[in-house]
């Protein structure tokens, strides 16, 4: 206790009152503590004393989700957006982003990261274009390309492991087309041409 406290009349009075209490009975303290320990609830028992949670039926959840979707759909034009209404996206298609392909970190070791590569093909008359190559097992369904709003440009972004890759485009689900922007190499096994892409480590 400091001198400051002893000089404070209120504190001094409290100290005097506490000193008048009888000394603690150790046996009584032990009995009280033991009784408390014996009466303590286990976690499992504790559930019984919790107030019951209101039960949420599955149809309530679906109903709420449907209501939220309807409200969102109706109000979609009422919410202000930062995007200008007259943005010309004719030559800037949103490119397809393909999932991790072959020759990726999974197949080449964790020390090699994937490098996103954009593939672009100009073809105004195509109905569909996909990029195929050794990075997606030449699967025409793996990486469909997105068409720009003016219909001239097809593009896709594919994360690719660094190294040398061969690829091409499948136009209208049937025509294999080389990339005019890339160099071409002949496959010695089959004697056919493919486009070549070299990806450097970042």
């Amino acid at each position: 206790m400091t001198d400051h406290h002893e000089t404070d009349p209120l504190v001094q009075r409290a100290v005097d009152e506490l000193r008048r209490l009888p000394p603690l009975n150790a046996a009584a303290v032990s009995r009280i503590a033991g009784a408390a320990a014996a009466a303590r609830l286990t976690p499992a028992e504790d559930d019984f004393v919790r107030p019951p949670r209101p039960r949420v039926r599955w149809w309530m959840t679906i109903g709420l989700a449907a209501a939220a979707a309807i409200v969102g759909f109706v109000a979609r034009d009422m919410i202000p957006s930062d995007r200008p209404a007259d943005v010309d996206v004719a030559r800037t298609p949103t490119p397809t982003v393909a999932p991790a392909p072959m020759r990726t970190a999974a197949s080449t070791g964790a020390d090699v990261g994937l490098v996103p590569q954009q593939f672009v093909l100009e073809n105004r008359t195509a109905r569909s274009v996909s990029v195929v190559g050794d990075f997606n097992n030449w699967n025409p369904k793996a990486t469909p390309m997105s068409r720009s709003s003016d219909g001239a440009l097809w593009s896709a972004i594919v994360p690719i492991v660094p190294g040398r890759h061969v690829f091409g485009f499948i136009v209208n689900d049937s025509i294999f087309t080389l990339d005019p922007r890339r160099s071409t190499v002949r496959d010695p096994d089959f004697g056919t041409n493919t486009s070549v892409l070299m990806v450097a480590r970042p």
């Binding site: 097992n137 660094p162 450097a200």
Partner: protein, 218 residues
């Protein structure tokens, strides 16, 4: 086309899953070729080789080339052999990507010794990019021995992977424009070596040279 492609993708997927079964129909209309393909993939996997490049070659043969089954089998077998040579040349710890790109370089005429030289020059670094450039130079018509020598020299001079890739792409583009491969390489190489360290100056694997622990004077 799309049906055929979907069939090809499905067969390659099944090839990967059930290669050990060896009798599953993998190539439409040719059970023997399918069984042979399954054996090739299974053997490659058992040998610790990456099988993705083989499956990719099969898909390419079916989807793009529409090659006959026996030709696809032959290409898969040849690729499996190249993968094994590349794996041995790039020992002790090549990544599957290193092995696949090494097999590409072998396909265009590089040798096992040239792959090993690139591996040695690269130290512990992944070699898929340098080997890809080697493959590209050889595919462009550069002599394989000279291409390997140049790639190895550039690695020792600490050329970045971007610089290596640019060299391969530039030479390839020059050749596509009508230039001779050797002349294109010399021209592009002159521009690149001007900005790199002198030969041997920082080569960490050169005898008696270390970048971090210089020799003590007597």
């Amino acid at each position: 086309m799309i049906t055929r492609a979907a069939t090809a993708v499905a067969l390659v997927a099944s090839l990967a899953r059930v290669a050990s079964a060896q009798d599953t129909l993998l190539l439409p209309g040719d059970r023997d070729a399918s069984a042979e393909l399954a054996r090739i993939v299974s053997a490659a996997r058992d040998a610790g080789l990456p099988v993705d490049p083989i499956l990719g070659k099969v898909s390419y043969g079916v989807v793009v080339v529409h090659a006959p089954p026996q030709r696809i089998v032959a290409a898969a077998r040849a690729l499996a052999a190249r993968l094994e040579i590349a794996r041995d040349a790039l020992a002790p710890r090549p990544t599957p990507g290193d092995i696949a790109t090494g097999a590409d370089a072998l396909e265009f005429g590089a040798t096992k010794a040239e792959l090993r030289a690139v591996r040695t020059a690269s130290g512990d670094q992944p070699v898929s990019t340098p080997l890809g450039v080697l493959a590209q130079l050889v595919a462009s018509g550069v002599n394989a021995k000279r291409a390997a020598q140049i790639v190895t020299d550039l690695i020792k001079r600490h050329a970045s992977t971007a610089q290596l890739v640019a060299l391969g792409a530039d030479v390839n583009a020059d050749v596509a424009s009508g230039a001779q491969a050797t002349a294109a390489l010399d021209t592009r190489l002159r521009g690149l070596t001007a900005v790199l360290a002198p030969p041997g100056g920082v080569a960490l694997d050169a005898p008696g040279i270390s970048a971090t622990t210089p020799k003590k004077k007597p």
